[in-house]
């Protein structure tokens, strides 16, 4: 039997995940619609004055993005857990970390990337100044992968549990708080014309930390849940 390289398996699994994800398009849209609806409620509750909306725009978009991404995590492992293919993936001769990372990357491409696009669009609707668009994009680019990475640990721990979705949110939201603080503070600094370097460094550090540690934690969690 021919032994495949890890990279080949990684891309193979990534392709499979993307294909499966795109086949269930409506499922991908749910978190985005949720995001849209939550953000829409703020002008309705607060009133349509641009000045007021501008002030809360960053906070609203980031909080709604955190909530939407915590809802989207549920689909990362569930269907594979239910039909047993997750077990097969973990039992394969390939390093499980690599395979888990392929799933996380696919999840980010399918849910994180669309979230970035819609967040930027919504920031226009909430009158966020033009100067803040690039910083917003930067924080989202650094932040959404961290959502998927940290989220993968909690998703793996709660996969297959009754009421897993709500439990998942309870576990994951406190861990997202540092991310929220740095991201919102970066964009707010940009609005005021201050430097955002420090916050971006922190976000990058968090991303690197999450990238190095979470694959192991996620694999271990999946092994525990499947034992």
């Amino acid at each position: 039997m021919q032994r495949l390289s890890s990279l080949a398996v990684f891309s193979c699994l990534l392709k499979r995940e993307l294909l499966l994800g795109l086949r269930h398009r409506s499922e991908l849209l749910h978190p985005l619609l949720f995001f849209l609806i939550v953000v829409t409620m703020f002008p309705l509750a607060l009133g349509p004055e641009p000045e007021q909306l501008r002030q809360i725009a960053v906070a609203v978009i980031w909080v709604a993005a955190v909530l939407a991404s915590s809802l989207s995590l549920d689909m990362m492992f569930r269907s594979d857990f239910e039909d047993g293919s997750l077990e097969q993936i973990l039992l394969s001769a390939q390093p499980a970390n690599v395979l888990v990372m392929a799933k996380v990357l696919a999840h980010w491409l399918l849910s994180g990337a669309p979230l970035i696009v819609s967040a930027l669009t919504l920031s226009y609707f909430l009158y966020l100044p033009q100067s803040a668009t690039v910083p917003m994009l930067a924080t989202l680019l650094l932040g959404t992968p961290i959502f998927s990475l940290i989220g993968s640990v909690a998703t793996a721990l709660t996969v297959g549990l009754r009421g897993g979705g709500m439990l998942l949110a309870l576990l994951i939201l406190p861990l997202y708080m540092p991310l929220l603080i740095f991201a919102v503070s970066a964009v707010n600094n940009a609005v005021q014309g201050l430097s955002i370097k420090a916050e971006l460094y922190f976000l990058s550090a968090l991303l690197v930390l999450a990238l190095t540690l979470t694959p192991f934690a996620t694999t271990a969690s999946l092994r525990i849940r499947l034992s």
Binding site: L161, L167, I224
Partner: protein, 248 residues
Amino acid sequence: MFGPLDKYAAPERFYLLCKSMGPWLSAISLLLFLVGLYGGLVYAPSDYQQGDSFRIIYVHVPSAWMSMFVYVVMAVSGAMGLIWKVKISDAIARSCAPLGAAFTFLALATGSIWGKPMWGTWWVWDARLTSELILLFLYFGYMALQAAIEDRRMAARAGAILALAGLINIPIIHYSVEWWSTLHQGPTVSKMDAPSIHTSMLIPLLIMFLAFKLYFFAVLCMRARCEIIEQEKNSRWVKQLARGGVDS
């Protein structure tokens, strides 16, 4: 693996150890509580700025310290259970969570009672109170996960991973919240530190701290006993214990 401690890693031995240690720890901690309360409420002079309200630190600060300490104990013993498959570390980790949550709640409640005369409101989004609140959420998350997973072994191991993830996050949360609060420095100066603490104020605080710590270990012993007999309820020694020690 633990050298001379190895024999206590057997659940039955550990149960007996807890049973014999428990009363001693409780007694010493009660004694220290009485001394510390006397020291804090009577012996320590009142603060020149905060008056007698500063005496709340004698319960607030030790419970805040304990809330962090218990999380570390929970994560470390969870990790030991995960790596070396020691049954008793699972029991210890599971016993820590409600206790840690109680300390965290106490730190929050006494902090807000202290805040009322100092700041004029029951709650201020002060850096320390906010990170304490997030810590409470972390404890609740752990307890929710424990409740959701039926199998005790699996629950303990899943909890260990969650606790380790939380442990890595606690310094980050702490730092980011400090960052956030310096950014939004309101009109009220949030300084909960005992200003330039005097020795006569410090000694009761240290005694209270010891009392809290021993209290934690005493209650941990009791909780771990519950966890162990529940975990081992099909073993012979637990059945004997349930029958009142007589094997009939």
